[in-house]
């Protein structure tokens, strides 16, 4: 027994010793492969940028920069529009409901205060009676009203939006509330609108061809909006139509430089023919204000 233990102990010790020696002597071979750092960059990282300024602090929910108040926000989703219309109907009905509550509490108070006076009692009863039919009237509309309360505040500023019978998918240019404090983004950011290399290429080409009138003091005059109709081969179908107007020499210079860029850029090969329906009609804003702000 003892010899068996001894043999076993010696055997184990030998195996252990051998393994320490042999394994330590031959470290696991590690072949060195050249590391290739890979960084995934998506197109949207460049094109999906909110309107803002480069040095603004980053916020969790980025608000687009809105410099001008317009009638309504763009409503992208048709379903959202339907909900909005429903709310309009609800807003007309509610008047009776708010009435009932104050009268109820008022009458209760009166009852508690003046119990001995019979005349007052009678008056009070009358008053109590009055609201009751009202209450009965009001009750039915309340259940469907419940989900509505959060939104249907009547806002006179929004009348135009309520009367609007156009397709739900229209896009307004400006926002409904001013937001002068831009959040992180770029002035040319157009998040939620475009994210494609074709458009980025078009934008880059025009930026390269467009010579900004130098040394303008009032850059507001230099913003030019131009509508361009394109042929399938990427050439202008007609001379560009200028949608902004002005008579100052500065505006004329800005307008002509923008038109010159559009002429020089054709044919716009980067626009693929299979997307022709998308780009056959383009509205381009040439806005040098950021360049001049510095």
């Amino acid at each position: 027994m003892r010899t068996a233990y001894t043999i076993s102990a010696i055997g184990h010790a030998a195996v252990l010793l051998w393994s320490v020696w042999s394994l330590a002597a031959n470290p696991l071979p590690v072949s060195s492969t050249e590391g290739l750092p890979v960084d995934l960059v998506t197109v949207s990282e460049f094109s999906n940028i909110a309107a803002g300024s480069k040095d603004a602090p980053k916020t969790e929910t980025a608000k687009p920069l809105v410099e001008k108040v317009a009638e309504a926000k763009p409503v992208e989703d048709p379903t959202a529009k339907v909900v909005e219309k429903k709310e309009v109907k609800a807003a007309r009905e509610p008047p009776p409901a708010p009435d009932s509550k104050p009268t109820e509490s008022e009458s209760a108070k009166k009852q508690a205060e003046t119990p001995p006076d019979p005349i007052a009692d009678a008056l009070a009863k009358e008053e109590v009676k009055k609201p009751e039919p009202k209450k009965a009237d009001a009750k039915p509309p309340t259940p469907p009203k419940k989900p509505a309360p959060p939104a249907p505040k009547f806002d006179p500023k929004q009348v135009a939006a309520l009367l609007d019978k156009r397709e739900a998918t229209r896009l307004a240019a400006a926002g409904e509330t001013l937001n002068n404090a831009p959040s992180l983004g770029l002035s040319n950011g157009a998040a939620a609108q475009l994210s494609l290399t074709e458009l980025e290429a078009l934008r880059a080409l025009l930026a390269q061809l467009w010579t900004v009138p130098a040394g303008a003091k009032d850059p507001q005059e230099l913003v030019v909006l131009i509508r361009v109709k394109l042929n399938r081969d990427g050439r202008l179908a007609a001379p560009p139509i200028v949608l902004t107007s002005g008579a100052s020499p500065l505006f004329m210079a800005a307008r002509d430089s923008a038109i010159r860029a559009l002429f020089r850029g054709q044919p716009y090969d980067m626009l693929k023919p299979e997307h022709y329906e998308q780009w056959k009609d383009v509205e381009i804003t040439f806005d040098p204000r950021d360049m001049i702000r510095g």
């Binding site: 896009l171 002035s187 004329m252 002509d256 009609d281 040098p288 204000r289």
Partner: protein
């Protein structure tokens, strides 16, 4: 078709196919505009080179502005022989000209008729066309006026080519330097002397009316501020105070002259109305206030003063009153001049470098931003 298109286009835009694609271009470049200026066509010219000279003056004016890049005539494909037909725009596009100037000069005896057309090569349109009549020896001025018209039409800013510069011309050996008032075109041509160099002259300045200058001269011993009509040569002394007057400058409307008057160890700013000859004191200090310059709207004055210990630049209302310091750096800041557009003040700053050599540099400052580096 709609379904397929919508699928294919889903990535392009969330809007349906009928919508207008919107694009914002907020960046451009500020490269000089390539412009082609072939020789003007000459008809009946006594001096056949006039057509070429005019186009050369226009080209060098525009090139000097930094905003245009005139294309070498050797590259031209089309030879312009008349200005009554459309140019072959394709030929000009070929050499990458964005604008093209064609012109004609007709001489009938002593009179010149100059016509020009400015073309947008890529749009294939005429941007501007004008004609001028003048005497034959005035062809240089015509070239400057045409340069102004082209400059204004393409940059939107007023041109400055049809202007003159008044300056002090120094000549002679070091110990007997002669200083004369002189006048030249903006491009250095047509130099004309206004004084003979008998007395020392300094700091000539133009009036907005362009026929009067004001300057400082030692003509009567003490330095005094003078006015001179450059057409008639008539001279007049501005406010004959005891003490020395210097550093004059016109108000933007040309009706007043602002200057410094030194009495004792201090100098103060005064303004004189040229019609009533009434002089008003603007500052009353025991320090040196000088080098005043009006803002283009005439409501403010920038000047240098050592009221803070060192020479620095200040701005105050044109009627006097408290002044606001706008320069704060090391060294001395002097001779502020307001830009015609009103957005910058140019000034000189002198700072002592470590090598004990004085470095003088000229800078621009925004008057409303306050601090200047």
């Amino acid at each position: 078709m709609l379904g397929g298109a919508a699928g294919a286009l889903a990535s392009l835009s969330p809007r349906p196919a009928a919508a207008v694609l919107k694009l914002n271009i907020t960046e451009g470049n500020v490269q000089p505009v390539p412009i082609a200026i072939p020789d003007f066509v000459g008809i009946g010219l006594h001096e056949p080179a006039t057509g070429r000279n005019v186009s050369e003056i226009i080209a060098s004016n525009l090139r000097r502005s930094g905003l245009f890049a005139p294309i070498d005539q050797a590259a031209y494909i089309e030879k312009v022989s008349t200005i009554d037909t459309l140019p072959r725009f394709a030929d000009w596009r070929q050499i990458n000209a964005q604008a093209l100037v064609t012109g004609r000069i007709t001489q009938t005896e002593g009179r010149l008729k100059a016509e020009f057309r400015l073309w947008d090569v890529f749009a294939g349109q005429q941007l501007r066309g004008e004609q001028y009549n003048t005497t034959a020896d005035n062809w240089r001025r015509i070239a400057h006026i045409i340069s102004d018209a082209i400059y204004e039409r393409i940059t939107g800013d007023k041109g400055y080519f049809d202007t003159r510069i008044v300056f002090v011309d120094e000549s002679g050996p070091k110990e007997r330097r002669i200083k004369r008032l002189a006048l030249m075109d903006q491009d250095g041509a047509n130099v004309r002397y206004l004084t003979r160099g008998d007395d020392l002259v300094l700091t000539p300045r133009f009036s907005s009316s362009a026929d009067t200058i004001t300057y400082m001269s030692y003509r009567e011993g003490d330095p005094k501020v003078y006015l001179m009509n450059i057409e008639t040569g008539q001279r007049e002394i501005v406010s004959n105070f005891p003490g020395m007057t210097f550093s004059p400058r016109f108000s933007p409307d040309g009706q007043r002259v602002i200057f410094s008057l030194q009495r004792g160890g201090s100098s103060n700013l005064f303004v004189m109305d040229l019609r009533s000859k009434a002089t008003t004191r603007l500052t009353d200090t025991q320090v040196i206030d000088t080098a005043p310059s009006y803002s283009p709207d005439g409501t403010q004055i920038s000047f240098e003063s050592d009221r803070g210990g060192k020479q620095q630049i200040y701005v105050m209302a044109a009627t006097g009153g408290p002044a606001q310091r706008i320069s704060f750096g090391d060294g001395a800041y002097s001779t502020p001049v307001w830009s015609p557009r009103g957005d910058y003040i140019a000034f000189t700053s002198e700072a002592r470098l470590t090598s004990a050599r004085d470095a003088v540099s000229r800078h621009l400052a925004r008057p409303h931003l306050g601090a200047v580096a």
